[in-house]
Amino acid sequence: MKRREFIAAGLVLAVCARAGVAAPTKKGPSTAESMDVEVWQGLRRQLFGEREIAIDADDVIGLETPYRAADAASVPIAMRGHLDGSDGRYIKRMWLLIDQNPTPVVGVFEFFPESAGADVETRVRVNDYTFVRAIAETSDDKLYMTANFVKASGGCSAPASKDPAAAAQSLGRMKLRIDPPVQPGGAARAQVLIRHPNVTGLAMDQLTRMYPQPHYVRKITVSYRDRPVMNAEVTFAIAENPSFRFNFRHDGAGVLVVHAEDTEDTQFEARARVDENGMS
């Protein structure tokens, strides 16, 4: 295991060095260069089998990441679907992957024809220098990927909680914020925050010499006017106190409902009534 990690890291660094010369505009190596990473080759087989994945896909899926993460415990990431429906297709699923994390699959996000586009921002834990990947599956069952390199290391940065006691104390508290649509009937933006320590279970308790049970938010379901907006299955790679921003189609007054479930089957729910102007 250890040895494999080193090989993977070596590959990444080699790729990095080459890209420094080749791609002066975009920082770090390109999606094409990310294809060589050993971890990815395993993941690809596991998740997508022999399916083809297009990689020059900026017109389908965008991925926004910082090149150097300010804080490895909470790295803001955006996956933005760029299909506007004009070719009759929509993005029905997006995967977010981090090659060098202990669990590379951060989450799978599902969207619907009535979702206002596949677009999600969240914050993740990043363990090392690594590629982050966004993969989109369109309604005609095609796959598209874009990958960015992220340096999350240095200083006293670590993907760990700053105040786990405080996060555990108010577990389950939620905040739901809605930005009205620019145009009536268009896409409104919402953010949900869930107070949760999102315990990875990977850090040994030094007193008991035991590993804690992983305890994290694993499922998010969003609906507006009883129609699905976004469903997500996520892992503990999502940062403590999970945050998600997404779009929903504001086609009249209604109630936005965000439902969450953690690994202990605890259910959380937040609701916001939105009026015909998109104000909540």
Binding site: S74, P76, Y129, A160, A166, R177, A203, M204
Partner: protein
């Protein structure tokens, strides 16, 4: 043939001797900021191969019975050099190794002191959990940033934990330890030497080196207020100058953190996302602080994820 083998062997012996002399750490340079209180000033830099991880202020206090070491540096090698500095000043045993918090630049030299007979490793009660959650990442960081000079470094955990306050006797000299609510980290510990009125603040106080939030910005601002009311003659910050009077340095730190909190609160009120805030503030405008371009963004991130929960 024979002479050549002998020459080769002699060369090997010389190389071995040289390695031993070079490997036996040269003592760290220390200043005696008050009688019996010795501090080594770390460089005002982030970890690098060039500085070998020597970036934090670390040192020791000498009593008539034994010595307390306060923080041990980023690597085993720095810990060994600190031990050599202790030995250059006294033959007394090291009875305590105190860690002011779990950050690697204050802790990963602990391993150099494990061989001291009867030594106790002392830290705040929440330190072991915070260190174990990060130890693996810290070792990777040392490997990436410092490389070979960090060889042999590993986490050595405290054997004595401080919940609230504790007193350590060094013989004719008493240290008062105090664990604080979440501030710079969730396990900050200060060490007060009553005899000289010297307060080791750990990273509750940064001087010149930009303060780094890894706990709670609100908690830290609160603790700064409390520190400024303590009657200390000398303060030893975790980074920057090794001896400050407290007042001015605490005010500068307070002003920076208060400004970060206000900037972030205004952004949250406007509906700006964490990404927006990070894109807007890369630290290049924070002229007063060293390493702002490296850590200001991190502080904005920490402040944002804390303050977005305020009502």
């Amino acid at each position: 043939m024979l002479p050549r083998i002998a020459g080769f062997a002699a060369g090997l012996v010389l190389a071995a001797v040289a390695a031993r002399v070079w490997g036996a750490a040269a003592p760290l340079a220390v200043d005696e900021v008050a009688p019996g209180v010795f501090v080594h000033q770390g460089r005002i830099e982030d970890l690098s191969r060039d500085n070998g991880g020597d970036i934090a202020n670390i040192g020791f206090v000498v009593g008539s019975r034994c010595v307390a070491v306060i923080d041990t540096g980023s690597t085993r090698r720095i810990g060994e050099a600190l031990l050599a500095a202790v030995r250059a000043h006294t033959e007394l045993p090291v009875c305590y190794v105190i860690n002011t918090h779990m950050h690697l630049d204050h802790v990963f030299g602990n391993a150099a002191f494990e061989g001291e007979p009867g030594v106790e490793f002392v830290a705040a009660a929440r330190m072991p959990a915070s260190l174990s959650a990060r130890a693996e990442a810290y070792l990777r960081t040392l490997d990436h940033e410092v490389g070979e000079a960090a060889a042999g470094s590993r986490a050595v955990y405290p054997t004595t934990l401080v919940d609230d306050t504790a007193t350590l006797e060094l013989g004719g000299r008493r240290l008062t330890l105090r664990a604080w609510p979440t501030a710079h980290t969730d396990n900050d510990l200060t060490v007060h030497d009553e005899q000289t009125g010297t307060l080791w603040t750990g990273d509750l106080l940064f001087e010149r080196f930009i303060p780094i939030i890894d706990g709670s910005i609100r908690g830290w601002l609160d603790v700064i207020g409390q520190l400024s009311r303590l009657p200390a003659k000398h303060m030893v910050p975790g980074h920057g100058a090794v001896d400050v009077a407290g007042g001015d340095a605490l005010s500068r730190e307070q002003a920076y953190l208060a400004n970060v909190a206000e900037t972030v609160r205004a952004a949250i009120r406007r509906g700006d996302s964490l990404r927006d805030v990070l894109d807007a503030g890369d630290g290049s405008q924070i002229a007063d602080w060293a390493l702002a371009e490296r850590f200001h963004g991190r502080n904005l991130s920490a402040a944002y994820t804390e303050l977005e929960w305020e009502d």
